[in-house]
């Protein structure tokens, strides 16, 4: 591999990284420390504040809305992670062979990811309207319903819509991440497997999958963390309603901080979220890491 020249002044190297370092220190590390302090006060949006120790943490553990938000987030993550991976994997299998049209297919499948959850949520908002929306129109034409489902004002239909949206959006990203790994699999392995008479599924399971450990790990981590931090689609489609039945953790934080003005309490919940996300990343990383990575 390319050797690093030792004649370069280290100081210049450090200076080159200073802008990035400053930004991160100012807008990530500092707020994090500040968050710990704030979470132990009764900081309001406006006005003076007092130190309250761990009172906020005690409060939120008894706050049914917070607990419900956690439950919703976990259930939501559990529901969508599998389909996102499976669909993404299927798309990757379909488009990895560089046949005629596979580049076009990849473009189409990745398009929802590019457009983004935000704008797609607005579209879906219009299409899920009872009686007039495109989704209901389609269902009525297909004879499945009478077209009057009010998707966005009931908990379960709302969650169904959001889950479908997210799978549609995310599977393209999974596809791309897996494609990178798949195209690195040497042809000879497939050939010798075919020689040995292995069927397609077995080949996939025994040969491809193990070699995809890293891309799989990455796509799962991104998918799970993304689901934990979900906000846009929930706020845009259901505003967390009815009531707070479709309010995930980040939306809870936002509402408590900026609608109820209880910044201290919101920040306490937010810090718990940081811990949870860090734990999940670390756990997944350890579980899925390639045992031979260090040998390379």
């Amino acid at each position: 591999m390319a050797a690093k020249s030792t004649t370069k002044p280290g100081r210049l190297g450090f200076m080159l990284t200073v802008p990035s370092l400053l930004l991160v220190l100012a807008l990530v590390i500092l707020p994090l420390g500040y968050a710990v302090v704030i979470s132990m006060t009764d900081f309001p949006l406006v006005g003076s504040y007092h130190y309250v120790g761990l009172a906020n943490y005690r409060t939120i553990f008894h706050d049914s809305q917070f607990l419900h938000a956690i439950l919703l987030t976990v259930v939501y993550t559990a529901i969508v992670t599998g389909p996102i991976f499976v669909v993404g994997y299927g798309l990757a299998m379909l488009t990895r062979s560089n046949r005629r049209g596979s580049t076009l297919l990849r473009t189409m499948f990745f398009l929802p990811y590019i457009v983004g959850l935000t704008f797609e949520s607005f579209i879906l908002y219009v299409e899920l309207q009872p009686d007039s929306g495109g989704v209901n129109f389609l269902l009525r034409i297909l004879g499945l319903t009478d077209g009057s489902t009010a998707w966005l004002v009931h908990t379960v239909p709302g969650m169904v819509a959001i889950c479908v949206l997210v799978v549609w959006f995310s599977s393209g990203l999974t596809m791309v991440l897996l494609l990178g790994g798949m195209q690195g699999v040497p042809r000879e392995l497939y050939e010798s497997a075919a020689l040995d008479g292995a069927g397609r599924w077995r080949t996939e399971l025994r040969i491809t999958l193990p070699l995809l450990r890293q891309p799989i790990a990455l796509s799962l981590i991104l998918s799970v963390i993304g689901s934990f931090l979900a906000f846009n689609q929930f706020e845009i489609l259901t505003q967390g309603g009815p009531g707070t039945s479709t309010t995930p953790v980040v939306l809870w934080i936002y509402q408590v901080a900026f609608t109820q003005g209880l910044i201290g309490k919101a920040t306490a919940g937010a810090l718990l979220l940081v811990v949870a996300v860090a734990a999940i990343s670390a756990g997944q990383f350890i579980l899925l890491r390639d045992p031979e990575a260090n040998a390379r």
């Binding site: 004649t7 930004l23 807008l27 076009l104 607005f122 007039s132 890293q214």
Partner: protein
Amino acid sequence: MTVATRPPGPDTLRQRAAAGVSPAGRGPRRGRGIAYATSGVLLSLVFVLPLVWALIQSFEPGTDIAATPSAKDFTRLTFGNYTGLLGSGNDIEHYMLNSFAVALGTALLTAVVATLAGYGFGRFRFRGKGIVFGVILVTVMIPFQAILTPLFIELNDVHLTNSLYGLVLFYVTFNLPFSVFIMRNTFLQIPSEIEEAAFVDGASHWTMLIRVLRPLILPGIATTVLYAFLSSWTEFLGALTFLTSQSKYTLPVELYNLEVGTYGGVNLGYLIAGTVIAMVPCIVLYVSLQRYYVQGLMAGSVKS
């Protein structure tokens, strides 16, 4: 056609594979071709249909969209939603400009900062390098959603809330881990002979970066720029939180207000047309530069 008396050897297999014939023979190949084409077409329809539908519907008057239809007849197609959005009253072009300014600013600033850092990490040795790199990477573990509250207070104290500049700084910071990672990899892949030759010719570090290395790092920069632009164009929560006066809104926030009826009644036609307007730059950018975006992601996933 040869009569096979023993299994085909590796060379024959390779020839057949290159010719598009499956190792198993010719029969299954045709069937698989049809399966490929059908599933390809069906799936692409499923993936792209909602967006196409939105485009078509954006030409329907808002009243038609909201009307309980006996049929979606698309007979009264008009540009009405678009003309209504532009110009006095709705001013969608104002919000487009805000979004564009923020996205462009984010993309350029991210590219500069990440390239410098990537050069530093990829090509220099200095004490504490690992620590600095680690600090920047740790941002990945700290989602901005979780430090939104202290970030708001902090930016407020320096008058950077309700400011497009503040938003740009925010977006740049959270783009850094990915971008620095990409640029560092880009620099790591440059053979040192090129630099050694340039040094021998008397080049300074700046000349090196700007003249010698530039063509080699351009793909990495393209990936970074594209990624930063698209992520800030579509970002919602940060913009919603930090921008508090309407004149500063970016497209997602303005569309959100259109949806919840902040300005009075809800016009679904405006909402759909506004969303289509907002989606167009994403799609155009992506289609024309997708090589960089997709390759950046694919390469990143394998090296992670």
